[in-house]
Assembly symmetry: C2
Homo-oligomer: 312 residues x 2
């Protein structure tokens, strides 16, 4: 039996996971990150205690795995920097091991999600997998030779590969990062620009005066599905940039599988059809033939299952 | 003691390499690939026999390693496709093992060169290395977790990542591949265009009437070093595209080292200074701090030493 914890900026989700990667019991509590580092650590401990009590207080656990939204020193189990948690240098592994006397493993949340999909989701039986999550940002994790690939410390920042040399300015300082063009806020921004330019489009229906909050990536994909030409062009551009980035990853890493998850991926075939076309045009033929591009299967559970998979 | 073979389109180089990666004796014979597959195989066998006799016919060898300019089925030791050799499905491992009764290992030549630099060259003591060779094409090999990374079959095609969406057409079918903009023929083509546009540049000195064969990448870098503005602009563009590609690789793989070799890299600081500037601008700061970008150290011996390093 294992304990998997998915530590998010909003919620702490924890589950008892068996050795086949099935969730037996899952609970969730608010993170309340703004109340400070110590409080969040205590809520993590409290959530794990609650889970253990609710499941079976006499059960034995092989380990605790925790996925963290930040940069980790993995061997030492230290969260070096997690902006959404307001954390800096938190030795979470040591803290939890001391509290529960159970071996504890940490990793970045995108890596944990990738490992979850590899264990029981879309990537079962594959050894080389690129997982990408298109949401408010672009997260990604690499599974190479069957395990998370970390590089020197934190590989897999696919959101910050350049896909358009003089593209929009990214928070990271670069221009034209994939994240500025294929994550939800970027898509909403492009849609807003189209409306402001006075283009004839049903995207206008989601705008109330000067209030554009109703016009999100979801409305763009929905409108494209309904045949709106402006929305279609936006989706094609997303596919163009994302396809270019994925073709580059394919030519570099020759993966067997690319798994796409997150809110933007919920657009389904509306995105996947033009995306696969671009990838096929740009990737080397042999390497394109080696790879499948599929939707993530585990949804929000990928992080928790992957956290449990961190346990060796 | 090991035998390393670097099988090229022009020459077959073979060497006795000790277990520290030092070349003890090296010989070379012409490949004469045009004379057909069987003849080339016989010349490889002949070259190894000659090497064994010249070095010490009583020496014992742990293995034969051979780097091949083509796509390999590595576990089975078959060269699936090597255009410069006119080879298709040659079971070279089986052939050499039968002939010499010595365990034989094969890999792609770019991978072998990367492993050579990792063993005794620029990459000693590093676990995550990206090797790139800028010559008539752009070759590359990935060393991840201390060993060649193959992906599904043949990872590391960095020459075919897209760096300019609507760039020049590449032989692979894609547009804007790094190879079209940063390998020697691409650089020569851009220089030719500049001369044909009538720009004021010392590049003109290398052109005889309509004969542009004297205007190669080397003359472009030499002219840039002399302060020629047109040549400088070409070098800056090469640095821009190569830097974009390398920053993407850094953000994706977080390597500790990037090793650049090949004829174009011989330009030295003329290329490296603007290149590093672009990489620094585009790569994530933490990941940029993890990586060094250096020149290859082994030159043409990388392939032969790396071939010897294939032996397990």
């Amino acid at each position: 039996m294992r304990i998997g914890v998915d530590l998010g900026g909003t919620n702490i989700a924890a589950a008892v996971v068996n050795n086949s990667g099935e969730i037996l019991l899952k609970i969730s509590n608010p993170t309340m990150a703004k109340e400070g580092q110590e409080g969040t650590v205590n809520r993590i401990i409290g959530t794990i205690k609650e889970l253990i009590e609710k499941y079976d207080s006499r059960a034995e656990y092989k380990g605790i795995g925790i996925g963290v939204p930040g940069v980790c020193d993995i061997p030492n189990g230290i969260v070096k920097f997690a902006p959404n948690l307001f954390w800096k240098n938190v030795p979470i592994k040591e803290i939890l091991q001391k509290e529960f006397n159970i071996p504890t493993y940490i990793d970045n949340d995108a890596n944990a999600a990738a490992l979850g999909e590899a264990w029981t989701g879309a990537g079962k039986d594959k050894r080389h997998i690129v997982c990408i999550t298109l949401g408010t940002g672009v997260g990604s994790g690499l599974i190479l030779n069957g395990d998370i690939f970390h590089g020197a410390q934190t590989a897999g920042e696919l959101g910050h590969v350049t896909v358009l040399e003089d593209g929009p300015k990214c928070n990271c300082g670069n221009t034209g990062c994939l994240e500025t063009l294929a994550a939800a806020p970027g898509i909403a921004r492009i849609a807003k620009d189209a409306v402001l330019e006075g283009k004839e489009t049903i995207l206008n229906n989601y705008v109330q005066g000067e209030d554009f909050t109703g016009l999100t990536a979801k409305e763009v994909f929905d409108s494209a599905k309904e045949g709106d030409l402006v929305a279609n062009k936006i989706v094609e551009d997303v596919a163009r940039y994302l396809g270019l980035a994925l073709a580059n990853v394919i030519n570099l890493l020759n993966p067997e599988l690319i798994v796409i998850g997150g809110g933007v991926a919920a657009a389904g075939e509306t995105l996947f059809v033009p995306l696969k076309k671009v990838v096929e045009e740009r990737a080397l033929k042999d390497l394109y033939n080696d790879v499948e591009i599929v939707a993530a299967q585990l949804g929000n559970d990928a992080g928790i299952i992957g956290a449990a998979a961190l346990i060796k």
